[in-house]
Every structure is written in C-alpha cells, then in structure tokens.
C-alpha cells in the first residue's frame, strides 16, 4: 500500500515539477519572442494570450489579401466616428496645410511631418479590405507612406517594441507591435481610390493596419510614439480599446 502511495507521490511530484518547469519555460520563451499581449490579465487573458501568440507565430510576415481593382467597393461604408471638433474644422478649412504628424519616443530623430512631407516620401498603394468587428466590410485602394519608411526616417531605436498612435480626438489612441509596425502593408494613409483620403474615411491621415480589424486603423492621426513598454500609456493595457472592453490585438 505505502509503496503504491509513495510511487504515486513521486510520479505526481515529477509531473507537477515538469508541468511547472514547462510553464515557466513557455512563459520565458513567450516573453522573449513578444508573444504576450499588454491586455493579458483578467479572466479573458489566457484566451487572448493564446490567440495573440498563435497568430504571431503563424502570421509574423504574412501579407493581407489584396484584391483586383474590379473588386473595389462601389459604395464603401464610412463608419462615422465622433463629429469633428472645432479644432478639426479649422484644419479642414485650411486644406489640412497645418496638420502635423509628430514622431517621438524611442527614435533618434524626432519628426514633425506635414501631409505634403509625407507625399514627398516613398509611397505605395494596396487594394485591401476593411473589416469591422461588427461583421461588415468593404474593399478600397489605400495610398500612403509605409509606416516603416516613417520609422526609418526617424531612426527608430532597436529596443522599441510598440508604436503608439494618437487621433486628434481626445482619448482615442491605439498601439501595434513591431511585427505590424514594420509590416510592408501598414501605411500612414493619405489617399483612397485615386483621390485624397476623404474626412469620412479618416483624412487627412489614417494609420492603415490591414491585418487587423477596422478599429486598429485609427482615423485623424497626429502623433506616433515608439516605446519599449505599454506600462505608462493609459492603464497600461495597450490602447484605449481594452479600457473600453475590446481586445488590444484585433487580428481576429
């Protein structure tokens, strides 16, 4: 009897040790490769961490689907966000000539770019789908300066792990990891379907992140900040979305 108990005890002990060691190792590897999202706490944390880690391992370099010109939506839907403020209307009246995108944080050369400055940088276009978490979608051509070009110009430091971006609207901000920030399809977008980006769709500047849901493609951006930690931004959950109950990572 006591033999069985002892043997059982030893096996249980070994299994528990192996389990704990496995978890510790998994945690270390996950941290090392950036597989833990800023909103990993709480009851939904395990699911969120699994989703983010699995998708990062699977999709680090993959490209969002692009479509032929014939599939561009005839009637794209502009999800109206908050009505433009007086400040915004003044910028709009001046044709956004004074609009500035500042780039700061962990960069060697902070920048303050006008829309014209961005036009003079290398730019690209993509025909991709905007997908809303509610279920609807549309396809448009997006023209802009790839974010990695802007970050290169600002000489982003190697220890940066996130790029935080802010809308002109108070309290509206998001962040993405470097896999998305340096991704070739992530643009500071200023054009749509061969014209300027309309205000309804986020003009003058919208950060387009086509591998994630629409709410990560923030409209009216005025500031980019590179950082190695999300701790000191808002409640430290990564963006305003988790503070409102929505996941920080929106690749699903």
């Amino acid at each position: 009897m006591s033999g069985i108990t002892r043997r059982k005890l030893i096996w249980t002990g070994l299994a528990a040790t192996a389990g704990a060691a496995g978890l510790t190792a998994a945690d270390r590897i996950a941290r090392r490769y950036g597989l833990i999202p800023p909103d990993h706490g709480g009851i939904y944390g395990p699911g969120e961490t699994l989703t983010y880690a699995a998708q990062r391992l699977l999709t680090r370099h993959s490209l969002a689907r692009e479509f032929p010109r014939s599939m561009i939506s005839k009637a794209p839907f502009a999800n109206e966000t908050a009505p433009p403020s007086e400040e915004f209307k003044r910028y709009e009246a001046a044709g956004f000539a004074d609009w500035r995108l500042t780039v700061d944080g962990m960069v060697a050369h902070p920048l303050s770019l006008s829309v014209a400055d961005l036009h003079s940088m290398p730019y690209r276009s993509q025909i991709t789908e905007v997908v809303c978490e509610e279920g609807w979608s549309y396809i448009a051509e997006w023209i802009g300066t790839p974010l990695h070009e802007v970050l290169r110009e600002a000489a982003i430091l190697p220890q940066a792990r996130y790029v935080v971006y802010f809308s002109i609207q108070q309290g509206v901000w998001e962040s993405i990891d470097m896999a998305d920030a340096l991704h070739p399809q992530t643009y500071v977008t200023w054009g749509m379907n061969d014209g300027d980006l309309p205000v309804k769709f986020g003009g003058p500047l919208r950060l387009r992140v086509p591998r994630q849901l629409g709410y990560k493609s923030l409209k009216y951006i005025t500031r980019l900040t590179a950082t190695d930690s999300m701790k000191h931004f808002g409640k430290g959950l990564g963006s305003a979305s988790p503070e409102a109950g929505y996941a920080w990572y929106a690749g699903i």
Partner: protein, 227 residues
C-alpha cells in the same frame, strides 16, 4: 473522457451566447467578399441592432456588449479546439470512433435507418443490447457533428480572422469570400443548435436523470437496461 463532453457543453454554450451577441451588432448577412449597410443583404434578421447605423426598422438600439463577447468567444473557441484535440486523439487511439460510432456492417443500409426511425416513432422499448450501445441514427448524427459540423464551424470561424487569412488565404477564398464565410458560420452554428435540441430531447425521453448520471459517472443503472 466524459469530461471532454462537458467541457464542450461549457465552451459551446459560451460560444452560442457570445456569437448571438456579436450578430446583434450587424444582423445582416451577405454573400461574397464584402457586405455593409450600403449593400443589399442576402437576408437580415428581424431584430434590433446594437449599432445605430444599421437600418433595422426599429427605433431601439440594443446595448453594445461586443467587447467581452468577442474576448469570451475566442477564449471559449480555444477551450473547444483544445478539448476536440484531446477527444480526437483519444477517440482514434482507443478505437472509440470505429467501434462505437461508425455504423456496424449490418446497419449500413437505408433499411436499417428506416427501421430505426420506425422504432423511434413507435417509441419501441430498447432491448438490453441497444441500451448499451448507440443505434445507427445516433452513430450517424454523432459522426456528422464530430467530423463535419465542428470542423466546419471552426474553419468558417477562423476564416473571419483577417490575420489568419493573411497566412492561409485559402481558408476564406475557398468559402467564396469573407461575407460568405460569415453567413456559413451562422448556418453551421444553427445546425449545431438543431443537433443540440434533438440530442437533449432524446436524452429527456430516455429518462433525463438516469442518462445524466450515466454521462457524469459512466455507470448506467441496471434497472434502466431492462425496459
């Protein structure tokens, strides 16, 4: 391994509630790649939406609960997928699928199905052998749920992830586009609900508490076996 059944019940309930919640934010369905309120839907549900921009014909806007619903939907999906992996490996390893779920040689005919349906309609009492083993209708239904409906609902769900689609574009392209995938996800979920309703009804007719005891403890009371 009965634990996997109850984990599935738990995960599926959470998925169903949160899935319904997410649908309310845009209760319109489309076919093809794109779809939004500026486009004609394939069909729409006659319910108020939780977003004011969806023209539902109601003046009432439901509260937005998508945040936690989406978090829980994906967490429950992980529970379901991991449980399914354990169950699938166990099922093949022990021969459970081949022995207990594949219709037996003598059962693989329309006649066998017709007979079993007739027995059900007559509510014929079970013989001792039947009470211990699944009949051909059960076997077919269980196999369809395990190997067709659950894989389909997971596939159509994954196809809705723009990031997953960037790595595996076939996941969504083979379904005819993103909105088709969403519509299929909706219908496959209904098929699973239909199974659930029939399944629970059958359990109730077979004696709810007796079956419950069997499914929790693994022991069927002897009195049940003799009708």
């Amino acid at each position: 391994m009965r634990v996997t059944h109850w984990l599935t019940v738990l995960a599926f309930s959470a998925l169903l509630i949160t899935g319904g919640e997410i649908v309310i934010s845009h209760p319109r369905f489309y076919w093809g790649e794109t779809g939004n309120v500026n486009m004609k839907p394939l069909f729409s549900l006659p319910i108020p939406a939780s977003r004011d921009m969806v023209p539902t014909g109601y003046k009432f806007v439901m509260p937005d609960e998508n945040g936690w619903s989406r978090y829980l939907h994906f967490e429950a999906a992980w529970v379901l997928v991991l449980t399914a992996l354990v169950y699938g490996i166990w099922g093949f390893w022990t021969g459970h699928f081949g022995r207990n779920l594949t219709p037996r040689r003598g059962q693989r005919s329309w006649q066998a199905y017709r007979e079993q349906i007739a027995r059900h309609l007559r509510r014929a009492p079970l013989n001792a052998h039947e009470a211990r083993s699944y009949n051909v209708l059960q076997r077919t239904a269980y196999l369809a749920v395990i190997f067709v409906l659950f894989p389909l609902v997971i596939w159509t769900g994954l196809a809705l992830s723009p990031s997953f689609d960037s790595a595996v574009p076939e996941a969504v392209n083979w379904l005819g586009g993103r909105q088709s995938a969403r519509t299929l996800h909706f219908f496959v979920s209904w098929a699973l609900v239909l199974f659930l309703v029939v399944h629970v009804t059958m359990v109730a007719l077979a004696g709810f508490w007796g079956r419950m005891r069997a499914m929790i403890t693994g022991r069927a009371a002897e009195t049940e076996v003799q009708p």
